[in-house]
Amino acid sequence: MINVSMVKKKIGWELFLIALLLLEVVVFGFANPRFLRPQVLFGSINDFISICVISLFVTMVIITGGMDIQAGSIVGLSSIIVGVMWKQAGMNIWVACVFAVLGGMLCGLLSGFFIAYAKVQPMVVTLGGSFLYSGLAISITRIAKVELYKGISGFPESFIQFSNIRFFGIFPSQILIFIIMILIAFIILHCTKFGRYIYLCGINQNAAEYSGINTRFIIMLTYALSGIGAAIAGIILTSYLGTAKADFGKELTMPIVTAVVLGGTAITGGKGSIVGTALSSLVIGLMRFGLSMAGMKTQYLDIPVGIILIIAVGLRGLNELGLLSRFSLKSLRKNS
């Protein structure tokens, strides 16, 4: 019974997100019919693919009860690694991409190591990490004697094409990338033992530890995964814009956390799903895109996103309180 109701509740939230998504399409379609053109609608993902990809993996970190505010700075770092490896070190562009992913993974592993094995609060380590990795990105730019504001450009055509191609002239390849990332993240979190362990770490780390799970290692790996996700986002961004710059992803921290939380992940850990995060990142991205198409200035876009975040989480908090009180009443009746 409990299982069924839990599933219902979970699907309920995701249905709500889908409804929100459809509502957005309808409302913005009315406000500006150009929004409904398939090329524009599907092309909009180019604007927020980084948020989508990174938040999928940050979901796992937050499910373990952790927090990751360094992912944004890894985006810039991986972008500059691609640029420097390709231009200064003269590597093949795809080899450079592998190095960038490795770099992102190492950054994640380092922070994850301190969080899992030295038991420092995740917020503090990733705060330090966000300073450190964005600082490293700037340092690499300087050491490679690249101008900070120009960045590195002039990448080979195949690399640029990889994120600018459109299938059937409508679907940008980034949609395909996003779907592949969703599948990977979904399989990791929902179809493997490792995924179940991630949930268990978030629900009760001690219990997980006592049942023979290497919780520290699992927690460290989730940070490595989020680092990899950030690096991939950095590569996509570099390819799409044709430039490698150190300050990519600087403003991404808040949208990522917003997307994860709006997707139904509990900030205290133990609850959340990949589908929810994927949907909510689309909701946020489409809202920003639609509002700016409807004539709102880019700088104002944070206001509606912030309001929606607070209302959604507030409603859910009230709902949980209500459920809790009903549950306790029932148990009281049973006892008497």
Binding site: Q121, M123, V124, G129, I267, G306
Partner: protein
Amino acid sequence: MQSIDFKKIIKQRGVSSLFFVIILFLLVGLINPDFLQVSNLLLTLNASVVFALLSIGISFVLFTGEIDVSIGAVLGFSAAVSATLIRDGKPWAFAFLVAVFIGVVCGLINGCGLMFFNIPSIIITLGTNSIVRGLVYVYTGGRWVENLPMEYKALSQVTFCGITLFYWIALIIMLAGTFFLHTPAGRNFFAIGDNIDGATLIGIPVKKTKISAFVLSSVFASVAGLMYVSRIGFVTPVAGNGYEMKAIAACVLGGISLSGGVGNLVGAVLGSIIMASVGRILVFMKFSSDYDGTITGLLLIIIVVVDALLQQHTIEKTRRLRLLAKTAQGSAQNSKNSESDKKDGE
């Protein structure tokens, strides 16, 4: 004997960060003696006033075990509004009151969202951060606020004994806050951060205390905004962007634990001096200040990891002592250990 002294120093978190500041400055002084000139040290100190106020404010929130990432936007908003008022010739006191009002409202929104709607503090403050930052753009129309009267800008240059008026104010606030934290009402902040269930059970007003912590944090942020206007002389729409993270980092450097219940305001101010002086130190060591972020991040991670390892060590040690005390075999050592414990306690 020496080892005991060392332990005591580590236990006093403010003191350890003071030693860190002194060692850091001495090391830089070894490389470039110019850094240790009094005028330069005072300049470094005075430049950290905005961060000092932000760190003092956010400390109250951190003591209760919550977090506030909206102070950067609150600083920006209060700076923009008060700068516009001062530019338009309104009395400064009015601008000050408006700034404080903004702080109180933002703090109340954060605190009430947390306590009455059960929204985790990181989320509600994240939300207010983006909303208030958006309001800055709406209010200023995306333009800079410039052409402030010279008299107001000159206010930041007023000095007593080499320390600016603003820094004296920050110091007085720090002393008053430290005094307040030693009163019963002030101890409540630590009690809630240390053990919220216990605090509720012994009748500490948790809601009131947490809401007032958020109000204090936002009010100090908006007062810091006033000082920011006077120091910088103009306000951009992105003023104060990212300051919340730097203030949190300053508090952590000063020995305040993000899980709550530990730390003091002196540490927060010392941390803000470290945070604000990293860029300056780099220049004196003939590095580019572009390495600012790298050094700050390294410092933060190293200090926090060392601190966590030391704490674990002491926890393990006390646990072992307790276990020894319980076992019959350990009874011989037990008496010795408890004696040395008492010495430690004294």
